[in-house]
């Protein structure tokens, strides 16, 4: 059985399409999206006469109505949400963070819904199973959208049997400086994991699909920040920011495989005792789908694995 694992797509339309196409491209049986599938930014396309004004990647531009759809695709490709609005609406949003939040939630749900439909269209004749476990950057509202999707299974908080291997998933992370949507102290993360861990019958065939990487590995090194969220030493100084709860769980239970994301710079593979732990990293902004392919064998467990830049 071949598992394709990617994570931290952050709203990138290109990456989601590649994720779905990966099943055929790599001949995968199972697709797992490790969380953080929603975008971080919203780009206003401001109506101006017969066109729109926008700024993308720091570059201001004006486009005609006939070009606006193409520009919206460019924005989506980067993982941002393009929203057409008037300058009055922009001013209104600027004054009211709550309205911005509401609009974000609306855009996120709308996009995830469209992605779920895309999965249904593309994979309607396929036997490939697709799993998504939302990550700490994903708002709670998207869970329902995923749960209602015909071809995608919501993995959060469940033990799921995939071809004789038991997978448990959680997108919750240890606290970050950004106070995101699914964060909890380490003790609480342990409590969240506990019921799922008890469901596993055979750890030698278990897969942990936990969004934060284990603490103190090469998978959890992120640029050190000061109290104002400014990278120290030009972004070169790295610190371990993974979860100690995840690390303890791996140390204690020694599953066959442990899949992680969260730290985009933490691309790598490491062994923690008997466990192979993987963080494929993320380069969603470049439209590149960083992922891992793991081939599982009923006798050997993990037959082989590979990181790819699709």
């Amino acid at each position: 059985m071949r598992v394709f694992y990617a994570t931290d797509l952050h709203g990138s339309e290109v990456c989601w399409r590649k994720f779905l196409n990966a099943a055929k491209f790599y001949d995968a049986d199972v697709l797992i999206c490790g969380g953080d599938m929603t975008g971080k930014a919203m780009i206003p396309l401001v109506e101006d006469g017969d066109g729109y004004e926008l700024t993308l990647s720091g570059v201001s531009q004006r486009v005609g109505r006939d070009q606006v759809a193409e520009v919206e695709s460019q924005v989506q490709r980067k993982g941002y949400y393009p929203v057409r609005m008037t300058s009055a609406q922009v001013a209104e949003l600027e004054k009211d963070p709550q309205k911005v939040q509401t609009l974000f939630t609306e855009q996120m749900c709308k996009t995830v819904e469209r992605w779920m439909q895309l999965a249904a269209d593309k994979m309607k004749d396929s036997k490939v199973r697709i799993f998504v476990a939302p990550g700490n950057d994903d708002e709670m509202e998207i869970d329902e959208v995923i749960a209602n999707a015909p071809r995608v299974e919501l993995a959060e908080g469940k033990m799921i049997d995939i071809g004789g291997y038991e997978m448990i998933s959680s997108g919750w992370a240890n606290p970050t400086p950004w106070h995101t949507y699914r964060e909890a102290p380490e003790e609480e993360l342990t409590k969240r994991m506990q019921p799922m861990l008890l469901d596993i019958k055979d750890m030698s065939r278990a897969i942990f699909n936990f969004h934060p990487p284990p603490f103190g590995t090469s998978l959890d090194e992120a640029p050190a920040l000061d109290e104002n969220l400014k990278p120290l030493h030009g972004g070169r100084a790295l610190r371990h920011v993974g979860s100690t709860a995840v690390r303890e769980a791996i140390d204690k239970y020694q599953p066959m495989l442990s899949l992680h994301g969260h730290i985009h710079e933490g691309k790598g593979i490491t062994r923690i005792g008997k466990t192979l732990a993987i963080n494929p990293g993320s380069a969603y902004e470049e439209g590149m789908l960083l992922a891992s392919i793991i081939t599982l064998d009923p006798k050997k467990g993990i037959k082989n694995y590979q990181l790819v830049n699709g």
């Binding site: 196409n21 990647s57 969220l229 030009g234 100084a237 902004e285 470049e286």
Partner: protein
Amino acid sequence: MATTTTTETPRPTLFLRNATGLVKAWSTFDAFLYAFWSVNLVTLGLYGMSFVYAIPDGQLLLAVLLTGVLVTFLVLTYAQLVSAMPRAGGDYAWQSRILGGGVGFVLAITGWWFTLWLWTPIYANILVVQFFAPLAYTVGWTGVATFFGSKTGVFVSCLIVLAFVSWVITLGMEGYAKIQRFCFWLGMGGLVVMLGILLFSTHQAFIDAFNREAGSLFGATGNAYQATLAASTKGGGPTGVGFGAFGITSTFLLLPFLAFYLLWPVWGATLYGEVRGAKEYRKVFNAMFWGLWVTVALVAVIILLIVKTIGWDFYYAANASYWNSIFVAGAPAPPVGIWPYPVMLAGWLVNSHLFQALLIVVMGLWFFGWAGTLFLSSTRVIFAAAFDRVLPEWAANISAKRRVPYGSLVLMIIPSLVVSAIWAYQPSFQGIFLWATGVIAITFLGTVIAGAIMPWRRKDIFENSPIARFKVAGIPVITITGVVSAIFILFMIAEWSFNAVYGTSFSLNASSPIYFAVTYLVAIAIYVVARVVRKRQGIDLARIHREIPVE
């Protein structure tokens, strides 16, 4: 929960929500510091420029400025690559994605792995001539200075460099960055003092000071200043070189000497950031550009002060007499038997051995703030190759307790020990290794070619990057800067290889091209073997960089 941000216009152009990784802009100064350290004007600069006496009619100051202009094209190319492919970060990833996995592996592994073994004795030699030897003579420990001139001393200096570099890697980049900052400020303080001494002293004062300390520290008798000039002449060195000497071709021929230090502002091009834009490109560019040009400006000041106080003919003669006494058979030894370290010479203008020793120690921080990064890039490249399954998994192993990357360290240190032993105990082999700079230049060449063709080869990435709008007459700027950089690098590689004026020339070291050709063949062999072995394991290495269709 959500926040807004603006660019130039007062109206918000982007709404951000709370999400991991949304950091504030990093400090340009911090990034500048890394670029500035990489083109280290003291350790690499003064060392590299001590060979320019070989082309006496070249105009050094003009050559420094010309190199600065040409390296700026390299900086532009790298800054654009960082902007277009920020997460990729580094020669290996850029080349792999644009030129292909095999090319990326071979060029990166030869440049950042195999070749940095050879840099260990070069670093060690710089440590000896700029720190141990002048310091030992200054405090009267001539035995220590003599020891570091012996074969075992050379080997011990290599061990010291390896120990220091390993310690830095175990310390981690954050810890070392703090040390670098400390070294920068104190080292800059030392440089200001040195420049101040040269500025406020006369040429006659220097002659007197030189004669005094040559006698006091080195036992020289009579007029050591004149004896140094005479030793240079007898050894075939230049005589009576004037600062105004100017030959166009000769000036261009100085460029490969200057590349020894000015080529490296892009050494650490990997930077971090998210939701970036064109502004981010300017930041990356500014950091590397100013790292280069502040160095160029300081070098210009140093050159002019050497002309004023030490004397240009003496500067050339002192270097010529020292190097010729080592490399030219029958050349007489100069009265001051160690490398004419400009810091030491400037310190002699103050008649206090304590002060002189302190100045050497403080200026030694330019070495320790810089040398620690010798293997940092190497370990990253080895990690990346191991994650790509080209190298075995253990190469990326990190110890559980102290988080030491022992796999990659072993791959760096053991060969470096062998190279250091050969360098120390079989000096005839040294010439073979001198072309090491050329290998890194070839790695850079691969990257600038990758940059130049990116708009066509990875159109998807280019057109969606902030650099897509940078065009001149319809040609992408990255193509123009990449081509100019490639021509510049090719010129230097050709000169290093075939012009006997450089110690690296293949005509002087017939085994050198064989050695380096073997390293490329070994890299190719590793890649081919990895492809075959992994294929048997059911892993297709060719698919690592193959793009998944979007539609």
